[in-house]
């Protein structure tokens, strides 16, 4: 009996912790992750600007960084080249 009580308690605590996290920190975490993603895109722009035809610096050393950002290139280009309107500013 004691054995089955423990996991139940553990599960309850876990759910409680998640609820508290959801109420208090989730929004902040989301903000941190989103800011981090924006900075990632800014970083790719500074290093790989040539991919969009914006030559920022000679690409010799940028190429060294290319393997690490390869998976993000498509989403970055989509974001950079997306049309923007007034709702972007309001949002």
């Amino acid at each position: 009996m004691a054995e089955s009580k423990e996991p139940k308690r553990g599960r309850f605590l876990g759910v409680f912790r998640d609820i508290v996290y959801g109420m208090s920190s989730h929004e902040m975490t989301r903000h941190a992750v989103r800011t981090r993603a924006s900075m990632e895109h800014l970083f790719i722009l500074i290093t790989m600007g040539d991919l969009l035809g914006i030559p920022i610096l000679p690409p010799y050393y940028s190429l060294r960084l290319l393997p690490y950002v390869t998976p993000q290139i498509t989403s970055w280009k989509r974001r950079m080249l997306r049309e923007r309107d007034i709702t972007d500013i309001l949002g």
Binding site: V33, P58, Y61, L65, L66, P67
Partner: protein, 326 residues
């Protein structure tokens, strides 16, 4: 003071450079100094950072893109093949992408970017700049003699190091900020660790390479930078301007070498008026050089009767420049 006294008195200045406008004899003086040092038992690497290198011509051997080639005991010469280096570098990047993500081949868009990079302006210079770092970091020579590119390019190298350095500092800072956001998110999610940021490591690696190169160029203790000039009005003016610019980049100038001096004894012989006029013009400019640069002039190198190519001719010039004594 003489060029010989500089080498003998300051053996810690292992990085030797001759700078100046194109066609004044930088390669000749580099090769002659390398020859003299090597024949005095020093292990010397003479290498060219000029895309239109002429070490092959002066040693009368094809050494282009072949790594350090032995020219004589203790003397090696190297001409960097920038195109080959760029191709190898591009393949290295492609391989890394394939290995990291298990792709069968590099995505087309990425591959196009890598391929197009070789056509970028300054890619060649950057590749040579990077090759020089390899040469300096890996070798175990007593002396490294740079056969420099003409003035404008040399300044470009220096400014490139500065620009790169600032660029790297900025993006390293951005990367560090990003890492802080990672840590905040990880802490809030009660995750124990954040993945290592490979990009940050890579940036730090690039920074050490750029610093290695630019620190040597500006290190008074280890570097000797000589200006080559000839006794002509325009060259003197340009040298003066270049010296100011180099000083602005903190390049320590160790002295000046005046090349192509017509033997003054010619003046006593019966020579055509044209030649007499050239000699008197040179004498006038030499006076100016003596007044302006004084004892910073380390050598007056005579105009030789034929091209300085091949070891016997280099040896003759070395005797004139450094004297016979060992």
């Amino acid at each position: 003071m003489s060029l010989r006294a500089v080498f003998e008195g300051r053996p810690d200045r292992r990085y030797v450079m001759f700078g100046g406008k194109g066609g004044l004899g930088k390669t000749t003086l580099s090769a002659t100094s390398a020859f003299w040092l090597a024949s005095h038992g020093k292990r010397v690497l003479l290498f060219s950072v000029d895309p239109q290198a002429s070490l092959s011509d002066i040693f009368q051997r094809d050494i282009f893109g072949k790594g350090p080639v032995s020219i004589m005991p203790n003397l090696w010469a190297q001409e960097v093949d920038a195109d080959q280096r760029i191709r190898e570098y591009q393949d290295e990047i492609r391989k890394k992408i394939i290995d990291m993500y298990g792709f069968e081949q590099v995505p087309e868009e990425i591959d196009n970017y890598i391929a197009a990079a070789s056509a970028e302006p300054a890619m060649e210079e950057s590749a040579i700049f990077d090759a020089v770092v390899d040469i300096i970091v890996q070798g175990d020579y007593d002396y490294y003699i740079y056969d420099l590119v003409p003035l404008g390019h040399a300044l470009y190298y220096l400014s490139m190091a500065k620009v790169y350095d600032e660029w790297i500092n900025k993006i390293t800072k951005l990367r560090e900020d990003m890492r802080q956001y990672d840590q905040v998110a990880a802490t809030m999610r009660r995750q124990e660790t954040v993945e290592e940021d490979k990009i940050l490591e890579e940036l730090q690696y690039i920074k050490t390479r750029i610093n290695a190169s630019s620190q040597i160029l500006t290190d008074k203790r280890r570097t000797a930078f000589f200006f080559v000039l000839v006794p002509e009005d325009m060259i003197i003016l340009d040298t003066r301007k270049a010296a100011e610019l180099f000083a602005r980049f903190d390049v320590p100038i160790s002295g000046y070498v005046v090349n192509r001096v017509l033997p003054p004894e010619l003046d006593r012989a019966s020579i055509p008026a044209y030649l007499r006029s050239r000699i008197s013009m040179q004498q006038r400019h030499l006076e100016g050089i003596r007044t302006e640069f004084g004892d910073q002039v380390l050598a007056y190198v005579p105009e030789m009767e034929r091209d300085v190519t091949g070891l016997p001719m280099i040896e003759r010039l070395a005797e004139r420049l450094f004297g016979n004594g060992r």
